[in-house]
Amino acid sequence: MDQIVEKPDTLIGAAFPKPDAPDKVVGKTTYINDMVLPRMLVAKIKRTDRVHAKILSVDISEAEKVPGIVAIATAENSPKGLIGVLKDNPPLKGDKVRCIRDEIAGVAGETEEAVNRALELIKVEYEDLPTVFDPEEALKEGAPLIHEDKPGNIGLTFDFEHGDVKKAEAESDVVLEEKYELHYVTHTCMGPGCVIADFDTHGKLTIYTQTQYPYNYKMDLAPALDIPAGDIRVIQPPTGGAFGSKLDVYPFEPIAVYLAKIARRPVKLFFSREEEFIASPTRQPARVYIKQGAKKDGTITFRDVQVYLNNGGYTSWGATIPAVMMRTMTGHFRIPNVEFHSVAPYTNNPFAGSFRGYGNVQATYVTATLMDKMAEELGMDPIEFRLKNAQEPGERTPQNSLLKNAALADCIKISAEKTDFLKKHAEYTEARKTPGRIRQGIGIATSVHNAGGAKIHKSDGCGTILTMDDYGRATVITGASEIGQGIDAVITQLVSEELGIPPSDVLIANDDSAIGPWDVGVHASRTTFIAGNSARNAAVKAKQQILAAAARQSNVSADKLELRGGHVVQKDNGVSVTKLDRLIRAMHFAGEDAELVMVSEYYEPPSELEDKNHVGDISAAYAHGAYITELEVDTLTGGVKLHKITAVQDVGKVINKLGIEGQMEGGIAQGIGYGLSEELIIEEGIVKNPNFRDYKVVTAPEMPEIECHFIEDDEETGPFGAKGISELPCIIPGASIANAVYNAIGVRFDNPPITPEKIVRALHGGKAEAAE
């Protein structure tokens, strides 16, 4: 009797729960913060209390005497290598300190109590130096020099020119010139910073870390350690969030290694929440001067952008955000003539790293509010003006991004229809003319982001090794990191779908650089696209090997067979040819013909590096989104209550419904924080609100209703048509909130967050009366 195997429902697009969720809900998951290794020491960092000072002496003699103290690392007894994007940051500072987070010493001991006592006893003598905190001030002649080898305090610069801006300005009917001040925010990962360093007796290092880029991490870490990158093994235990904050090596990591080397014992170094606020990277603040012109008919003629990035004391990824800002400034909407210039001067502020959206949060806040201002100036509505300038599929931007299937116009139209935008927008504008305490507002913002990887390194690839055991189970060793975002679920679905086995028969292994193949890291909305393609291609290779073996065994040609429900079946009638596990065993134990199902794949996306003029099609695909926020403003208290955010986004294809909605909603919450409530307040280089009381992340009661609408237009290069999606939800909401607040009260805020106090000041100056 032939066994018929029915085709199961596809997993692509399903609401597939994350495989790591059950252990997490029962409290079983061991995060790096929970780990204890045998003979492990605990360690903390002695930080400076100055923002710019010469270090005259560091005295650890009293600290060393504290019982239980095993190792103290200072600049004097530690390797001298540097870290950071420009290799300008010594993990332990010996000559001078440049910002408040600077590290003077690392202390490792048997107990946290002993370590804290020792930290108090380290004595540092300083000679204070003149300070500078403003990026434009830092560029002036005679400004205090932060790094002696960086004349003029100039860090990274980016410049791009296309067309003729001067001519375009002269020919414009309307020109707007604006200044924006974009603030500091920070990731506030729920799992505070933590690293464990452990040397074996050969002198090889195992580092347990929260990093989200394990392979290049070795390359960046090694120079600070005086050991070859190849001697570093990176283990990634479960981590309490990352959001871009773990894409560089930061001083605490080499410091833990120095201590482990001195102590010859494992050392765990961890942050308090206060340190997490003060000493982990922030989002890059930016001062943006922008000019935009248009013809009377609404055609944009040019943009001219000058950006000052407050680099802070050292250069991490924050200073490189123009690479992404620029794509939106020059390429979001049709901009025929454009100039973009940025400079990141060193100052005595803390420094920024990468953060979900990577410069596009800032660029979108500017461009999306400017689009609204210009529409009003032209007497057009915000939808009409945007549609007038939206690119068509197949257009290229000045930087040569190919917008193959540009869905910008669709995103705008669908979001406007779903929210009845034009009617409400006009109604609320009209309502401003009559007195009333509570004002309703609606605002739209749009953006574009890379959605098929981003080639910023020589390779944007990801490796996969896929093996099948004798029981028909697949182990997928992927280079992709799981940081909570859900790539394990996506890869499980893709592999399960290709191999016709249940998802519970797929195991993902991706926490050990000694085993996993190379990957750039979790960033740039790339992982579902790149790692997904890599895993899927590996599964296809395995499938081909299996079907070839099945064909030999069954005398049915491979192209008439497929994998389904743990069997090899005939495509046309579903009749089982053999059970998969039995076939794999037969392949394995076939004497001289023995073979294992064991394949590898390195996927490199079809994209190109930018040339020196910043021209290049860096991503295999781009995606647009249009988000509409509806809210109300209490004109007396300044309180803003969000009603609803409607997000329309081009996602190519939904792979995991739960995962994609989770990324949308979580990103939107961070975007709301950017627009309304979050600000790391830094005065004269000092962080004034290093706690959750005064750094206001969004909490459950503030969350509005969120409606997501996915445009699925099947990206031809994506796995099952999927694009990367998870940064746009964080990028767009802030600007749509700003536009909605304007619609409600007629006031523009070019300096987020739009706090109640700012609203009240704008409306009342000194008086407390309902808006007139």
Binding site: V25, G240, R273, V697, A700
Partner: protein, 155 residues
């Protein structure tokens, strides 16, 4: 080193005897002495809820509780929520509704949801949101968590 005090209390139904420094937090005691590492220290200041446990029937931040004050009390932690039959309905809903991403806040969330539903089995959406006002999640935007709690409350 502060004075050490002998205490005895019930945790997840089992009697425990522990000697703790008078100034130790309950969270440190649970994690370091009882190896119950489900509760997390994410802020240590009572502002995030990741360390939530239930003490004599009410949820508290264990990071701000004195371990010595647990003497004689009945404590429930995330490790005691799962039954022999499997996941608690709250835990199952968190899995099924996608309420978990990095998961660092999850144990505290589950404990606070349990307390909220114990006090009010039929909460409105607003009551669910208010119940979670002391629990910070940086990944999910809370929507899926609220969906999960709504599901548990309605079944």
């Amino acid at each position: 080193m502060s004075a050490k005090i002998d205490i005895e209390f019930t945790v997840n139904g089992a009697v425990k005897q522990v000697t703790v420094p008078a100034t130790a937090s309950a969270l440190d005691m649970l994690r370091d002495q009882l190896d119950l590492k489900g509760a997390k220290e994410a802020c240590g200041e009572g502002e995030c809820g990741a360390c939530t446990v239930i003490v004599d029937g009410v949820s508290v931040c264990s990071c701000l509780s004195y371990a010595v004050d647990f003497d004689g009390r009945k404590i429930e932690t995330i490790e005691g929520v799962q039954s022999d039959e499997g996941l608690d309905p709250i835990q199952q809903a968190f899995v099924d509704y996608g309420a978990v991403q990095c998961g660092y806040c999850t144990p505290g969330m589950v404990m606070q949801v349990k307390h909220t539903l114990d006090k009010n089995p039929n909460p409105t959406k607003e009551e669910i949101q208010r119940g979670l006002e002391g629990n910070v999640c940086r990944c999910t935007g809370y929507s899926k968590i609220i969906d999960a709690v709504t599901e548990v409350a309605s079944s």
